[in-house]
């Protein structure tokens, strides 16, 4: 997962990875808006030297790279539906069910960044490696 600081979300970073370093990417999830911290989840592959150069380019550009564990799941027996996770999630995977006010977790929107895992007061969000 790539974390983009707000000042470079306008730059064609992925294009450079392909063009300059001959890397192949498979974009899984993206959340990039101008002027805000952006997130890209992708598989990145290529020649080892090119890959290392590509990663160096990203780091120097101010992009933080986080390798991802496989999955985040919710332990339904521990979730109290308080809502402390809702504003923490960068991809808005949590939402409130308007009628019951229960916290819904949309697994498809989750990019496995893990921010909710430690921010969850009853520790209901679990990282699966």
């Amino acid at each position: 997962m790539l974390h983009f600081p707000p000042n470079i979300t306008g730059q064609p970073v992925v294009y450079r990875l392909v063009k300059d370093f001959d890397l192949t990417f498979n974009l899984l999830k993206a959340s990039v808006s101008p002027g805000e911290e952006g997130l890209l989840v992708m598989e990145l592959s290529g020649n080892e030297k090119d890959y290392d150069k590509g990663v160096k380019f990203l780091t120097e550009a101010g992009v933080r790279i986080q390798s991802l564990s496989q999955d985040v799941i919710r332990d339904e027996s521990r979730c109290t539906h308080c809502g402390a996770c809702i504003t923490i999630c960068p991809t808005e995977a949590f939402s409130l069910e308007p009628r019951t006010r229960k916290v819904l977790f949309d697994h498809n929107k989750c990019v496995v960044c893990g921010l909710c895992v430690k921010a969850c007061p009853p520790r209901a969000m679990i990282l699966h490696f």
Partner: protein
């Protein structure tokens, strides 16, 4: 229209009491009017389920053979330190206590995965707990060391005793700084990135009894999944806080001290809780029944989220530095809609208090009363009201002389 608690109890005994939750009563009163609703309804039930740090429990573990005097010694439950300044085998465990070797905020933000609140949850769940103790020997209590498993079934008493719970209104926490902060109000994102609140709003016990007309010392309540009592007004009880025209406090105001037998409580209503970068605590479920003794009392219970205002406080500067400044007020209706307007910014909101669980608590208490299992009590003393002049004072530091 007036009723007495004795009359309501008679109806509960006969299975004829009309009980609704503090959420249900809002629409009923809108439809039928306050007068008719007050005549028809006997009890309104409330509920709240949120982290309440001033919680803890007393235990009497029984005397070992030979005897040991834990008072004055050191006692740990699952490595969490307890308070040992009382008699030989009475100990107190606070919700925020953490193991001596917890790294705390050394690696910031600390995770605080296990503390007193978690021990209380596990104990209530019936799990064995490791007790380790060291102390000094005396002629009548010769033993100096004790290591044993204990279980809530076997110990003499386990008493939940929470010195400040069920806050009547609370701050909405935001962060005006340019970095993430980790607080007891959760993770607060920089530059007004989010706003966290922590009450059940229209379902919360003291919002429905703003002047403490029916809730007093001795009021029987839902506590941690079992039955408990209001023991006193809570610490930092501040009945003179700013109030709206409807009587509802617009700042943190009244609080409750509650007590109850931990042995009949349930772990799903006493949940060990970890606040990233802040510490451990216990999330407590409380429900207070409000006997509808008059139209006035009924009218208070019809309070809805739109009528309740909460102050917005910056937790990066104003809160830690004890500055009185607030950034304005927002209503619980707006907070629950998911976005509030603060300093011309649209700020997403999140809660630390669970509204679905509060609803469930009010529903359980309603069922207990309807089924005749839960009788109401007359308070034996009132909670101090605004006329008491009690205020919430800051500490006046004074130099310690030679």
């Amino acid at each position: 229209m007036t009723k007495t608690i004795a009359e309501i109890n008679e109806k509960i005994r006969e299975g004829k009491a009309v009980v609704v939750t503090a959420e249900e009563v809002i629409d009923i009163a809108k439809e039928k009017g306050v007068g008719r609703t007050a005549e028809e309804i006997d009890v309104v039930t409330t509920g709240t389920f949120g982290p309440m740090c001033s919680s803890g429990a007393f235990f009497n573990i029984g005397h070992s053979k030979p005897r040991i005097k834990l008072g004055g010694g050191k006692v740990y439950l699952n490595d969490v330190p307890t308070y040992n300044g009382i008699a030989a085998v009475d100990i107190f465990l606070g919700a925020t206590a953490i193991p001596d070797d917890d790294p705390r905020n050394k690696f910031y933000p600390g995770e605080f995965n296990y503390g007193g609140g978690h021990v209380i949850e596990e104990l209530v769940a019936g799990k064995d707990i490791r007790l380790t103790a060291t102390t000094f020997g005396t002629d009548c209590y010769p033993r100096k060391k004790l290591e044993t498993l204990i279980n809530i079934r076997d110990i003499n008493e386990a008493i939940l005793f929470n010195i400040r719970n069920a806050y009547q209104n609370y701050n909405v926490a935001v962060n005006l700084s340019d970095k993430v902060i980790y607080t007891y109000m959760g993770v607060l994102k920089p530059n007004l990135g989010n706003a966290h609140y922590s009450t059940a709003g229209q379902l919360s016990p003291l919002f429905n009894d703003p002047y403490y007309k029916t809730t007093g010392v001795g009021t029987k309540i839902f506590l941690g999944g079992g039955v408990g009592f209001v023991a006193w007004h809570g610490t930092q009880h501040n009945p003179t806080a700013l109030r709206g025209d409807n009587g509802v406090p617009r700042r943190g105001a009244g609080t409750l001290t509650v007590i109850g037998d931990l042995k009949q409580m349930k772990p799903e209503w006493l949940v060990g809780t970890s606040m990233l970068g802040y510490g451990c605590t216990l999330t407590v479920g409380i429900g207070v029944p409000i006997p509808i003794l008059s139209e006035e009392i009924l009218r208070y219970t019809t309070v809805c989220d739109a009528d309740i205002q909460a102050p917005v406080v910056d937790y990066s500067e104003a809160y830690p530095q004890m500055k009185p400044d607030i950034l304005g007020e927002v209503s619980y209706a707006d907070l629950k809609r998911g976005r509030v307007r603060i300093q011309d910014k649209d700020v997403p909101t999140g809660s630390l208090s669970s509204y679905p669980k509060a609803t469930e608590i009010a529903g359980i208490l309603k069922k207990w009363i309807e089924q005749g299992e839960f009788m109401l009590t007359e308070p034996v003393a009132p909670l101090p009201g605004a006329e008491s002049g009690i205020t919430f004072k800051p500490l006046k530091e004074r130099p310690i002389g030679e």
